[in-house]
Structure formats: C-alpha cells, structure tokens
Amino acid sequence: MSKTTRMTVEQAIRQALREEMLRDPTVLLMGEGSATKHRDLVGDFGPERVRNTPLAEAIIAGTAVGAAASGLRPVVDLLFAPFMTYAMDALVNSAGKLRYLSGGQFEFPLVAMGLTGSGWCVGAQHNHNLEAMFVHAPGLKVVMPSTPADFKGLLKAAIRDDDPVLFFTDLALLYQEGEVPDADDFVVPIGRAAVARAGGDVTLVGYAKTVGVCLQAAEQLAAHGVAAEVIDLRSLKPLDEETVLRSVRKTGRLVVVHEASGLCGMAAELAALAATKAFSSLRAPVVRLTGPDAPTPSSWMLEQQVVPRPEAVAEAALGLMADQPVRAPGREEDHRMVENAV
C-alpha cells in the first residue's frame, strides 16, 4: 500500500497545482487573486506563471483560450460558478468549438475552476450549480469530485488533458479531510466513476456533496437490511456509463441525487441511460432527488432545503424495495425526528 497524507480538499487542490506547475513549464495560473492567494507559487514559479487578473471573467477566460491555442496550459480560477456566465462565450463558443471548427488544427488544453453549492449562505449569485449547462456544451469536459484524493488526482488529470475542462469545487467540501496518495504521479482519470460503497439491492448515484448524502443514506438503509451501492460520478462528461449500468443491472433500482435542479440535469440523463440501456433490469421506476428550479436563497434555514437529505434518499430507496421484504421499521421514527429537529 502506497503512502498517503491526510489533508483537506483545499490543500489537495494546492498540491495538485504545485505538482503540475513543477512538472510542466507551460502550466500557468490566472485569476482574480490567484497570485494573492498563492504567494508560494509566485515565489517558486515567478509572476509570469501565477497572475492576478482584472476583475473581468470574460477576458480571463478568453485569454486562457488564446493562450491554450498557442502552446500554454492555463488554469483559470473564476471564483464562483455563477461568474462563469460572464466567461460563457470564451468557454462555450471558443474553447469548446474551435478545435472542431478548425478541423483539429488547434487545441485548447485549459482548466476553468469555480466554487459552487450550498453551505456558505452566499445566495444565488454565488451559489448556482450550473454544471449541466457545460455538460450540454460540446467540446468541454466537466469534473466535480467529492474526496480530497479525487480533487487532487482529477485536477492533475484536467491540467494534463488536451481538452478544456470545467473543474467544479463544491464549497461545502473545501475543508473536508481525507487521505491523499503521496505519489507525484497520482492521477485520477477523467471519465471514470468510483464505487464509493458496494451493495446489491439499490444503486444510489451522486456527485460532489451528495456522495456523502448517499453514503449516509446507505448507512440508514443497512439498518433496514438493504444493501445500497453508492456511485460517485466524479466526471459528468465524459460520463462513465458502464459503471452506472453495471450497478443498475445488478440492483435493478436507481436513485440519483444532486443539488442542481432536476430539469434536464444529470439525474435526467442517468434516468434516460437506465431506461435505454438497462430497461429489462429495472425492477422499479428511477427516482430523482434534486434541488428545486429556484434560485438558491441566502437564509441558512432555506439553503438547507435545497440539498437532498440522507433521510429522503433512504426513504426513496425503501420505496423502491416494495417487491422485497424489508426489515421492520424502527429507524423511520428516528429520521422523522431528525427532520423535525431541522
């Protein structure tokens, strides 16, 4: 077993940036406060490669696209995901389309990072899970990890990738700790989901903070004698269809959980995937538990309602077990109490 170190997601991101900048002199980091926040990187790699930018997301992203077309590998920190709408033209119309339109003459190896998700009570103009918008844009890859190890390994993979990658950080996970492999060559390939917990009765799929939600739900389900398999998507595009399908074919039951709103979201895509490629295995309808079609509020009390809760996931999963004997209740009262407490 190789060595690991315990660290937060934030530390894992810093480590990935440092290692890749050390490994490849064409990697540069730009953003509103990138140099301010990464004094150590400025010291080690110089102000040319670690740049503060004007507060202007469109030109930050556009500059990254131009630099990527010309032999550099820029990483741009756009701070919060909703600010990416200002960068949409450069990311969607240029980075995503110009490799194709140029007939492969140019490539756009860049990473655009943004924080997103509930947890800081910052309201809808800082907290908007718009990852599915980018999934819908051709030419872009979209990554949204949940563990410190995956943050490090996927950011390194994103920087090395020859396509533009949107790298979303669920801000509620930023200071969560986990073991991260020490090896310099530790990379998590883009496009591969992880089985976070094995089980044979029901498949729970999440990404970012809802992986933790699903894992808690799986614990609750275990008390009912239901073995849930939890899948962490990690990459939203390319989507690891095989890992999801393998699980659904085994369990016959699928619950997809995310914080982004449901309409045309990842859960809808996975429901379609199960219906088109694993229909005969399904023993119950697919359930989607998602955030609402509403701007996210600032109020802590209301913001909590946006995130699907473990109890709701467990309840939904139990509902799919109608054709199976399920162990007597007892936990149900507990979870009602939890809900009342909130």
């Binding site: 469109a58 030109i59 556009g62 500059t63 131009g66 077309a69 490799r99 339109l101 051709p138």
Partner: protein
C-alpha cells in the same frame, strides 16, 4: 505567407484577387450556396496591415476575414473549398466562411462571435511573450466598430496595456454594425479616444488608402516589436455591401454609399499607380482578368473537392 516587402503594385494585385474572390462568393450565394459576410470596400485595410506583418506574426480576425486570409497568402482554392464545405478547405470543410483558421499561415481564428477575436487575442499575445511563438513575433487582431461596442473590447485593451502584450489592435471602422449605422450607437469620434483612454498609442488613418494604411501599420508593428507593448490602429472605411448575402441594403443612405464608392480602395490604388506611371489602365484591366481567372480556377477546384465522409461528423470534437 509574405516575408519580403511587397510593392504597392503587388498590393493592388492582391486587392483585385480579394475583390474577385468575394464577388464569386456573392454570385455563388445567389445560386444557393451558404451565405457569407464580405469585406468588399475594406481590401486596403487587409493588404495594408497584413503586408506589414511577417512570418513570425499571428492573426485573429472576424467574419469579414477573406481579405486578411488572402493577403496572408491563403490559396483561394482552399478558401473556396472551405466555404463549400469540402475536404480540401483549410479546416476540412467544418468552418465554412465564418470560422476559417489556417495554422500554416498563422491565422489562429476567424470569429463570428463579434468580439470573440478580441477575447482570445491577448492570450495568443501572452503565449508569444512567454516564448511560445517565434521570437519577436506579434499578434494582429482585426475587428470592427461593432466589436468596439462590446464590453470585451475594453477588457482586452485594458489587459493588453496592463500586461504589456505585443498586440496590434486593428479596428476597421466600416460604419456599419450589422443593420445599424454606428452613429446610432456610439459617440463620434469615439473608438480612437476610447483606446487612448486605455493608455494605448493610437493612429487613425484613411482605411481606403492602402499605402496610408501600410505606412501606419509598418510604424505600429515596429513600435510593438521595439517596446513589446500594444498599439491601436483605427482604419476609417466603409462596408460597401450588406451585412451578409443577400441583403438589399434598403436601410443604407444612398448618398453616403455613393460618396464612399467614389473612394473605392481599388480605384484609389489604381489611380495612384497609373499616376505614378507604374502601370497603365489596360495593365490594371489585365490584372483584373488574371484575378478573375484565378478565382474561377479556385471555384472549379472547390467544386471538384470531395465532401467530407459522413462518418467523420464527430472527428475533432475532443482530443
């Protein structure tokens, strides 16, 4: 790609080729081929600036890019094939007339998103500055008065000045922003003043005079190579045809159009050269015929070029 100084006569020849090429596109469009946005009337801007660049330099341009491409040495055969969506086009037929890039010519982008070229240009210049291009190379970005009304115009100028990027901004102020005259949308004069406000050195010249443009561009390029910092050229010109083909231009002030047609850039250059004894009227007519023949050959080449195979539809979406 030009790397040796070219004569005013060579510029006339190139302008005639650009004109003939675009008139052929217009004719094709009337027969149902994909639409196009021409740069008819703006040929002096293209040859004047592009002739001041050399092989080390890079170009980003906009939807009226035929002049920049041909002045850079693009083969009309491969341009025409691209417009017709054939495999021999510079982009294998994927770009059409509106997104042509040609890496071998240093043309990184034709952007149909107005301002898209301004969005990417600082990054290309940054890569040059960081040693990813040929030493001493600069980047020229062509855009219009319409793009100057986009927010990205100001963001690009600000960044180029602040980061000292080797970037030549070339605004072809052709008076028209799609179907709206620029005097309906902006103060006058504005564009040069805006650039000055960002701290750029600015020259504003007659964009229908190829030699005036070339002299100003040569000076601008020398400035950028010497200082590593950006420069702004405003070329006052006129879009002689509609926004795209077909467009009856019913919204255009006939007197204004007539006045600019009198100052057609090809006519200006022809009269200059005839006046200087460099060529005579039959000589100009012969060059015109030559250009026409080249374009007809280009069309034949393009029409003979195969369509891309259907199974290549998804090639080049991802690496």
């Amino acid at each position: 790609m030009q790397s040796t100084p070219r004569s005013p006569l060579a510029r006339l020849e190139t302008m005639l080729l650009i004109r003939a090429y675009e008139q052929q596109l217009v004719a094709l469009q009337q027969n149902g081929a994909p639409g196009t946005c021409t740069s008819v009337g703006q040929e002096a801007c293209a040859v004047g600036v592009v002739d001041a660049l050399d092989a080390r330099d890079r170009i980003l341009t906009n939807h009226r890019s035929a002049g920049h491409l041909i002045a850079r040495g693009a083969a009309p055969e491969r341009l025409m094939a691209e417009v017709l969506g054939r495999v021999d086009g510079y982009c294998g037929g994927r770009s059409g007339s509106l997104h042509i890039s040609a890496r071998e010519l240093g043309v990184v982008l034709t952007s149909t998103i107005v301002g898209g070229e301004l969005s990417m240009a600082p990054g290309v210049a940054l890569a040059h500055k960081m040693g990813r291009g040929a030493p001493g190379g600069i980047v020229a970005v062509f855009f219009g008065d319409g793009a100057a009304c986009e927010g990205i115009f100001h963001e690009a100028l600000n960044l180029a000045v602040h980061w000292a990027l080797p970037l030549l901004f070339v605004c072809e102020n052709n008076q028209w922003q799609a179907f709206v005259h620029r005097l309906e949308t902006m103060a006058d004069p504005a564009i040069g003043e805006w650039a000055r406000g960002h701290g750029l050195p600015v020259r504003s010249v007659d964009g229908n005079d190829a030699e005036a443009v070339h002299a100003a561009a040569t000076e601008a390029v020398a400035h950028i190579r010497a200082t590593g910092s950006p420069y702004f050229l405003e070329l006052r010109t006129y879009r002689q045809r509609g926004h795209y083909e077909p467009d009856d231009q019913a919204y255009v002030d006939k007197a204004e159009l007539q006045a600019w047609l009198q100052r057609d850039p090809i006519r200006v250059q022809g009269e200059r050269l005839i006046g200087a004894g460099a060529i005579d009227a039959p000589g100009v007519a012969a060059l015109e015929r030559q250009a026409q023949e080249r374009v007809e050959a280009a069309l034949a080449f393009a029409q003979a070029s195969p369509w891309p195979a259907a199974e290549t539809l998804l090639d080049h979406v991802y690496a």
